[in-house]
């Protein structure tokens, strides 16, 4: 689990950048993208079944990423405040 957490945190420096996607019509932050692609939408029921049966990567991966996004959202608020100063 520690490995996964370190991996995501090392990606953090770019997380506050605003991305222009698909022609620049919509601007969304990377954190919002991560939050939506990982937390929103269809969850295939089998993932939990398989994970509990012993494939750790799926289960741990999901949890580590979700925890890190939560932490990252906290950091985003701090970063926004810094920018306002």
């Amino acid at each position: 689990m520690g490995h996964g957490r370190r991996t995501l945190l090392c990606l953090m420096p770019n997380d506050f950048e605003t991305l222009e996607t698909l022609g620049g019509e919509d601007e969304v932050s990377l954190l919002e993208i991560l939050d939506h692609v990982l937390n929103s939408g269809v969850v295939i029921h089998g993932s939990l079944v398989i994970s509990l049966a012993g494939v750790d990567l799926v289960y741990l991966g999901l949890n580590v990423v979700l925890t890190s996004v939560e932490t990252a959202l906290n950091n985003l608020q701090i970063e926004e405040k810094r920018r306002q100063k």
Binding site: T7, H36, L38, G46, I50, V58, E70, E80
Partner: protein, 225 residues
């Protein structure tokens, strides 16, 4: 090891421009099950954690390109199927429920607003001061969330509110094309000095999917990861 990575489902329409490549530059393919189309590509499994951020953006761009043109049901990035057989079984089992949700949500997008305490205003001088301030912020946040819901009532088909560690998150189902009206209505609501607000959207209406679509049951669950 290669798996089937599914991006999203949408109602078949020949005029839609579909993305050519997805995560890790894999060719995106369309699987049709009656009127339901599912976009998928092959993906190496497990995902390389070093490129997770890039994969997330690539995944998002595939979904977003379709969503810009029509309603979609997004899948989550870390869900994959073992093989075509498991994928096909899943689609056959859930096609009708997917089509019902697509029909219900076809004219709508999801807008979001998060209300959270301003970090610099947090008093950490003592535990008591912190908790007192937190209680005040919570009450204030609830009041602001209600004020925002009132302000957008004429624009919202449905609203869901979730309280989290980071604040109050409001999900609003808004008619496609009225996103700017939503932004203006939210911006017009005054914010107390100790709170902040962040808006985002439009997103696919994932928060408003039926429970059976969000977490579909599968007879062949062992085929999915």
């Amino acid at each position: 090891m290669s798996r089937i990575l599914v991006y999203c489902g949408f109602r078949h329409a020949p005029e839609l421009a579909l993305p050519a490549v997805g995560v890790n530059a894999a060719p995106v393919q369309v699987a049709s099950f009656g009127n339901l189309n599912l976009l998928w590509s092959e993906a190496e499994w497990p995902f390389d954690p070093e490129r997770m951020q890039k994969s997330a953006v690539e995944f998002h761009e595939v979904v977003h390109q379709v969503f810009k043109q029509t309603a979609v049901i997004p899948f989550r990035l870390l869900s994959v199927f073992d093989d075509q057989q498991a994928f096909t079984a899943f689609a056959a089992e859930n096609r009708q429920r997917f089509m019902q949700d697509l029909s219900r949500l076809k004219d709508f997008v999801q807008m979001e607003c998060v209300i959270y305490p301003r970090p610099s205003q947090i008093d950490r001088s003592s535990g008591k001061a912190y908790l007192q301030q937190k209680a005040v912020a919570l009450r204030s946040s609830e009041g602001l969330a209600q004020a925002m819901q009132n302000a957008i009532a004429h624009l919202s088909r449905e609203v869901r509110v979730r309280e989290g560690k980071n604040g109050t998150r409001i999900f609003v189902l808004v008619e496609r094309g009225r996103e700017n009206d939503f932004r203006q209505a939210v911006t017009a609501v005054p914010i107390p000095s100790h709170l902040s607000r962040r808006m985002s959207g439009p997103w696919p209406a994932a928060e408003f999917l039926s429970e059976q679509v969000k977490m579909p049951q599968m007879d062949g669950a062992a085929g999915a990861k």
